[in-house]
Symmetry: C2
Subunit: 247 residues, 2 copies
């Protein structure tokens, strides 16, 4: 009998072509999970993630669900997965959940963190998880700009693919920017994010912080919905999916 | 005119064949430093380290000295080095020092830390800096054994090369063992350590913690001076040189 399982997954995205399984591309997180679980149950399985993360993006709290027919306990499944998965993917928890739980459809919010190194040296032991910003941005200016980006807006101008047919309206309810030592953390919470949206928001905020743009320009960027007017796409390696919210 | 400079260096040892320069082996920390500094000054330079770290061992506070003939300021030299060194080596500081300062001869003590992961999951983001220990060792037993290992002893039985001609007598004045979450840190301080000594001490303590040896056996291991009687050599990746002391 099949049961629906909910799992919490962390990964170092450095070596991967993103979360989503792709034909002819072995190095995806979803692909690795499906491959190990298919071997475990001797059946084809489909792992449904809360969302996709792009190539090079990390996660500390991706949520997924999967239907499995197995007599193994939850801890046995977790240990089996962690044993056979590569050492840059870890299943933190797997638990039986309601039959109707769907990791993508039921997701209500997400928290992403973008980290930059803004010190005089190098982010030696963090180098795979942060973006090095030599021209150190001003935190106060970035905070001011971030206020304009909050709320419910059409974020097409901050997306990789602005001509997509689905709605590009999202609600971002908080952007916190904190300096801790030589690092600056940008923490975003919203009901969902378009492709590259967190990275383009971060790149644009960095440009404000570096004095290349004014905080008030953010209003115009939201109104004009033109990707080419916004800032650069901050590199994937600085981005981590921290948490997915459910009701 | 040449000046003597003292520098503080951190590195992620994963990709390197250790600190010491070797002919026909480009991937050493000393070799990388000498190569960049030679280019900078257009002269052959010799970087003298406080000691050697083995292949795969990390450092957060290696000390070295080097004689340079340059008009550059200390900060300019530091920035030049960090720009041209690979991203897994960082010069934290470089300063002019007394002509007679010698990083190896003047070193009075060293602090090393060995870290193991002893949790139910995986040390995902720390995996290159810790050793995963599935059979979790008991901290109290290891602390008891560590007491026997303190003091001034001939540590030949805990060395890779016990037949070396130089003295194998060293003083270890503290071994602290602390559990923090799923990690166990072993912090060693002494006047110096033989090759592989910290890793063999750690391997032996882990075996005590796992109940494979008794704490009292440590006395015998020191007396017999036979490497084959001590525990396994814990893997290089868990070891980090934290600090070198000078008068």
């Amino acid at each position: 009998m099949q049961n629906n399982y909910r799992m919490l997954v962390a990964y170092d995205g450095t070596r991967f072509y993103g979360w989503a399984a792709q034909p002819d591309q072995e190095m995806t997180i979803q692909g690795k999970l499906e491959s190990v679980l298919s071997k475990m149950t001797d059946e084809e399985v489909e792992v449904i993630g809360a969302g996709r993360t792009d190539a090079g993006v990390h996660a500390r709290g991706m949520v997924a669900n999967v239907r499995l027919d197995t007599a193994m306990t939850e801890v046995q499944i977790r240990d089996y997965l962690n044993h056979y998965l590569p050492d840059d993917i870890c299943v933190l928890e797997i638990k039986k959940c309601g039959e109707r739980f769907h990791a993508r459809y039921n997701a209500r919010g997400k928290t992403y963190r973008y980290t930059i190194y803004a010190g005089p040296l190098k982010p030696l032991f963090q180098r795979k998880y942060v973006y090095e910003c030599f021209d150190v941005p001003d935190v106060e200016r970035m905070r001011e700009a971030a206020q304009y980006l909050l709320g419910t807006h059409d974020y097409a101008g901050f997306s990789h693919n602005p001509r997509m047919k689905k709605s590009t309206v999202r609600t971002v309810d908080s952007i916190e920017i904190e300096k801790k030592g030589d690092y600056i953390h940008f923490t975003y919470h919203g009901d969902g994010f378009l492709q590259y949206m967190v990275r383009i928001l971060t790149g644009t905020l960095i440009e404000v912080g570096q004095g290349k743009r004014e905080p008030e320009e953010m209003k115009e960027l939201l109104e004009k919905k033109d990707r080419s007017l916004a800032g650069f796409t901050a590199p994937a390696k600085g981005l981590t999916l921290l948490k997915v919210d459910y009701m």
